[in-house]
């Protein structure tokens, strides 16, 4: 599903002393099947932005379209449930939403609410539980007996079991250890590819944005600050520093290298291995000259 934001403004408690403009005149497009990273500081409007994606908030001004669903002050979809079943959201610390007695019931909670038949839920569970890296014997256990990392996986499985077309991830790896982070991010990327999902990742990690996204949107103070391919956005060091964001480490290093060696090696999303190869050429270059 294509996602289109047209001049979206969102104001909390308008016309009150506590009025706060969370989003201001934001316009962008997310093509169906793409993987988009939304980057910005806490308070930049990221959370407000994503809660528009499944109609939890309705724009104060402007229009949000998700496939055939359209959200604006004048027009709310009648079928909000339909929208929410097509857009799955993994919130920050999603394990905080667990409440059922068993893991199985908790995973089934979402699909059941969306009217998916019991048989089908059961079938999906067999597929999703191993996919998120959970052993099948956890199904009958209480989610509250599991480790933090496992609880996180249960919550994620609950979202995936609805089989959404759009997957919204709000810092899905916060608080996990490095291995856990990598596993979860890789799993989402695999799903994204296999099921041609449209994925929206909200993250603080420039490294993750660079590694997985094919489009990056930078938010600052509720406004869209920059947008483009990762290799375009992440090489604009000065612009990013202006809003106190860093460029990914590989870009940082490349820039320092270029400065020290007076070269102008371009950044084109090369891997560390490829970078090493180029550097090696430059360093040895002196030999032949």
């Amino acid at each position: 599903m294509d996602i289109i934001f047209e001049n979206v403004t969102y104001i909390y408690q308008p016309n009150s002393p506590f009025q706060h403009i969370a989003l201001q005149d934001v316009t962008f497009q997310i093509k169906s099947g793409s993987y988009v990273a939304i980057v910005g500081h806490t308070g930049s409007g990221k959370s407000t932005l994503i809660s528009h994606l499944n109609g939890l908030t309705i724009p104060t001004e402007g229009t949000v379209s998700i496939g055939d669903y359209s959200l604006s002050k004048e027009q709310k979809p009648n079928d909000m449930k339909g929208l929410r079943s097509r857009v799955g959201v993994v919130f920050q610390y999603p394990e905080h939403q667990l409440f059922e007695e068993t893991v199985e019931k908790d995973i089934a909670f979402g699909p059941d609410n969306f009217g998916i038949p019991k048989e089908e839920i059961k079938r999906r569970m067999e597929e999703i539980v191993p996919a998120v890296g959970l052993p099948t014997d956890v199904l009958q256990r209480s989610p509250f007996d599991l480790s933090g990392g496992q609880m996180r996986r249960v919550a994620i499985a609950g979202v995936l079991a609805v089989k959404p077309e759009v997957l919204v991830l709000d810092e899905p790896t916060a608080g996990l250890d490095p291995r856990g982070q990598r596993e979860i991010m890789d799993m989402f990327y695999q799903l994204h590819k296999e099921q041609s999902l449209t994925t929206v990742l909200v993250t603080h990690s420039m490294e993750d944005a660079l590694k997985y996204a094919d489009h990056v949107i930078i938010l600052n103070n509720g406004k869209k600050y920059m947008e483009g391919k990762p290799e375009e956005v992440f090489t604009q060091k000065d612009a990013l520093h202006k809003v106190q964001l860093d460029v990914p480490e590989i870009v940082q290093f490349l820039m320092k290298f270029n400065h020290k060696f007076s070269t102008s090696l371009p950044f084109k999303k090369q891997t560390i291995k490829e970078l090493a190869e180029t550097i090696q050429h430059v360093v040895r270059g002196a030999e032949s000259s």
Partner: protein, 279 residues
Amino acid sequence: MSKKLIEFINVSFRYSEDSPWVLRNVSFDIYEDEWVAIIGHNGSGKSTIAKLVNGLLFPGEGKILIDGREVNEDSIWEIRKKVGMVFQNPDNQFVGATVQDDVAFGMENRGVPRSEMIERIKSTLNAVGMQDYRLTEPHRLSGGQKQRVAIAGVLAISPRVLLLDEATAMLDPKGRKEIMQTVSNLLGKKGLSLITITHDLEEVVQADRVIVMNNGEVWDVSKPRDIFLKKDALRKIGLDIPFVAILADELRESGLSISREPLNHEELLEDLWTLYSKM
């Protein structure tokens, strides 16, 4: 060699008789004026160590000495004065109604006279750069600011050891920077040892020594430079390797002879420059 401040002697711990050991035969020393980072995957026993240091838990076997005194029921209040802790969740350790009330909490518990409290609130809030927020309520602060207040609260009781138990894990990059900045400002102070329990590689490379935990055991204790030489083994126990260390490996692979293990960009660039000039 400076003075031993913390000694773990063959410490084992489990929550109850029939549960598995969380820590097994852990021994290490931490010295005065030292910064030690403790790393390890979630569940490797890192946080248990923190709680043992502070007498929030007691060892099942072995013993722990803080400044020469064994940690037990009788000594905990003495020990908690020497070891100040900052926990992971900024919200769940903020007791006071305002910033200054929270900084005062630890001092109030120890019956510090009011006039002295006011002095120390001022100086510690200055030390963490929060002097402008003295009367602010916690829900108006960012995570990083709350953690700085927590650090001020610990400093106010002038401990010998400042222990940060994943204090930056729930913060955004900006908050992490704030904390790291605060911490490196403090390091100039004499007589304060720092223990950071962390996943953040930046904290690890800046430390004097690193203790690597794996499945409740001490896997390695050495300097960061030496730790990151063991890249494959570290990966196997679920830990991250800094970018420069990976790049250095790839460069070696491609035939360049990078001898020392670089800890930051500048070191690697320097080595590359030396190679370049020699060629």
